[in-house]
């Protein structure tokens, strides 16, 4: 096979899916380092990866504390979004009335860029955690609600017929078919929603907060501490990937029957 002649390992192996992106990342970092040194780019424009790593010594503790704040707002906002999304999704999925009444409003609301709402939230709730939690929630709940309702409304009519012909009650139809059928939709939405909640809390922190990674980035750039800003970006990337990965694994475990 041609592929095996070029690469020493098979592309489809589990090993390759970890090894290749890691190699690519290291290569990019090496190039970055070289370019910064070759062209003597000043640190306040683009710091070298080594300098970013170096700032970990000074700022490590601060970044750690602020990332915990961001994580907390994200998780609280996500939890509220999950609850709201489940209830709304259930109502929209099961009730034609609620669907017709609320769905257009929800779609309309969802098209508003949430960063535009943060200043309002700051006026109403003051600067800090509450607007961040609210923004996280506002960004995340729609995805969950839409997916849950989709899961409930796309149950095959024949599946429902099988249960009804056995004399199953509405509740039993939900319990045996509607609920499990919407699980894959729910879990697929959770990994998107957690990322959205994360984006929401960081957006709000950059606009209206005095703590969190978003706030730290704004402070760092206004002090021309670009190394710290990059350290924050790196932290955000790691957190974002970790949150996504956790829910991707949960999804795989729960809906294993989807192949």
């Amino acid at each position: 096979m041609l592929k095996q002649q070029i690469l020493p390992i098979s592309l489809s192996s589990r090993y390759a899916t970890y090894l290749l992106p890691t190699l690519a990342t290291i290569t990019i970092l090496i190039f970055w380092e070289l370019i910064v040194h070759l062209f003597s780019i000043p640190a306040f424009i683009l710091p070298a990866p080594s300098a970013i790593l170096g700032s970990l010594g000074n700022w490590g503790m601060v970044v750690w504390q602020n990332s915990l704040v961001t994580l907390q707002t994200t998780l609280i906002g996500f939890a509220i979004a999950l609850f709201t999304g489940l209830v709304l999704g259930f109502l929209i999925g099961y009730s034609k009335l609620v669907y017709t009444t609320l769905y257009p409003i929800l779609v309309g609301f969802n098209t508003i860029p949430k960063v535009a709402i943060v200043p309002l939230l700051a006026i109403w709730f003051g600067i800090g955690t509450i607007p961040a939690v609210m923004t996280a929630f506002l960004l995340a709940f729609f995805t969950i609600a839409v997916n849950v309702s989709l899961g409930l409304s796309t149950v095959e009519p024949e599946m429902r017929d099988v249960l009804k012909s056995l004399g199953a009650s509405q509740w039993e139809v939900f319990q045996k078919v509607g609920f499990p059928h919407s699980l894959p939709y729910l879990f697929a939405s959770l990994k998107i929603a957690i990322s959205q909640a994360f984006i929401g809390s960081v957006i709000s922190e950059t606009v209206a907060s005095d703590r969190g990674i978003g706030y730290l980035i704004v402070t760092a750039t206004s002090n021309f501490d670009i190394a710290l800003a990059f350290l924050c970006l790196l932290t955000l990337a790691v957190m974002g990937i970790a949150l996504y990965a956790i829910f991707a694994v949960v999804e795989q475990r729960t809906v294993h029957w989807l192949r």
Binding site: E158, M159, V162, S165, L166, G167
Partner: protein, 272 residues
């Protein structure tokens, strides 16, 4: 015990038909057009009989089945079960569609056990009798040659296997009536013929009353005691054909003159 699932062998002698359709009419309102689907259809099914309904597409065969299962309200006429008119879904009905509609999150065994979690008295005995229920599910799966697939999920099964699971599910709660809506319509010809023998074995084992809707005349003849031929819309019964071939029937019988004679009889009425 071959007849362990037999619901009610003693009443086989009773004279009331288990199912009776009386003057059933059905009209659909399609975009302001009033279409008569069924026009005063009457037929009776004796206990433990295997009855097939054949006829052109859209002639209301499936509607008749759905009326028995309580999924379709009866507009005109009555459908009686054991002499009592049907008004709500019957508990003692098993149903299998062309699409096997297994629940993808349940393995084979759990899919077969589903009706027992819904139909009384099994529902409340589920916890206590779980082992016994699993045994009867196992027995059914064995009859259809799926004993090794109890813990497989639907995506791991072929189309024919899924349909066999669907039939086991339709029979697990020992229904008195088995409704089959083109159960083998989506299968290839070879698999379909295997399924006939297998369905016959299941039916002989459970002694339930079966009502089959099909487009396949050979299938209807192979499986049934009586075949009803329905006309195109507005449908009426054109022919009631009694099939007196001995049981268990074999594929060889389908090559006999007697079978061909019955087959031609059906054909003549379908393309009248």
């Amino acid at each position: 015990m071959v007849n362990s699932l037999c619901p009610n062998p003693s009443s086989a002698l009773s004279t009331t038909p288990i199912l009776e359709f009386k003057e059933i009419s059905l009209t659909y309102d399609l975009k302001g057009h009033c279409t008569t689907v069924l026009d005063r259809v009457s037929l009776a099914v004796e206990r433990s009989q295997f009855v097939a309904l054949v006829g052109p597409s859209g002639c209301g065969k499936t509607s008749l089945l759905r009326m028995v299962s309580g999924l379709l309200p009866i507009q005109q006429g009555t459908v009686s079960f054991d002499g009592e008119p049907i008004t709500k879904p019957l508990r003692n009905v098993g149903i299998a569609f062309q699409n096997p509609v297994l629940l993808p999150w349940r393995n084979t065994l759990q899919n077969v056990l589903l009706p027992l979690e819904i139909v009384q008295p099994h529902k409340s005995q589920m916890r206590r009798k779980r082992a016994a229920y699993q045994q009867s599910a196992h027995d059914l799966l064995q009859t259809v040659g799926l004993e090794g697939f109890q813990h497989h999920y639907p995506w791991q099964l072929s189309g024919g296997m899924k349909q066999r699971v669907s039939l086991c599910r339709a029979l697990i709660h020992q229904p008195e009536i088995l409704l089959l809506d083109e159960p083998f319509g989506a299968l290839d010809a070879f698999t379909r013929e295997d399924m006939w023998s297998m369905l016959q074995a299941l039916w002989l084992r459970t002694q339930c009353t079966a009502l089959l809707v099909t487009h396949d005349l050979r299938e209807a003849l192979f499986l049934s005691d009586v075949v009803y031929v329905m006309s195109a819309r507005p449908s009426q019964i054109l022919l009631e054909l009694t099939v007196n071939l001995p049981r268990p029937r074999t594929m060889e019988m389908t090559f006999t003159d007697e079978f061909h004679h019955l087959f031609n009889e059906l054909r003549r009425h379908i393309h009248h």
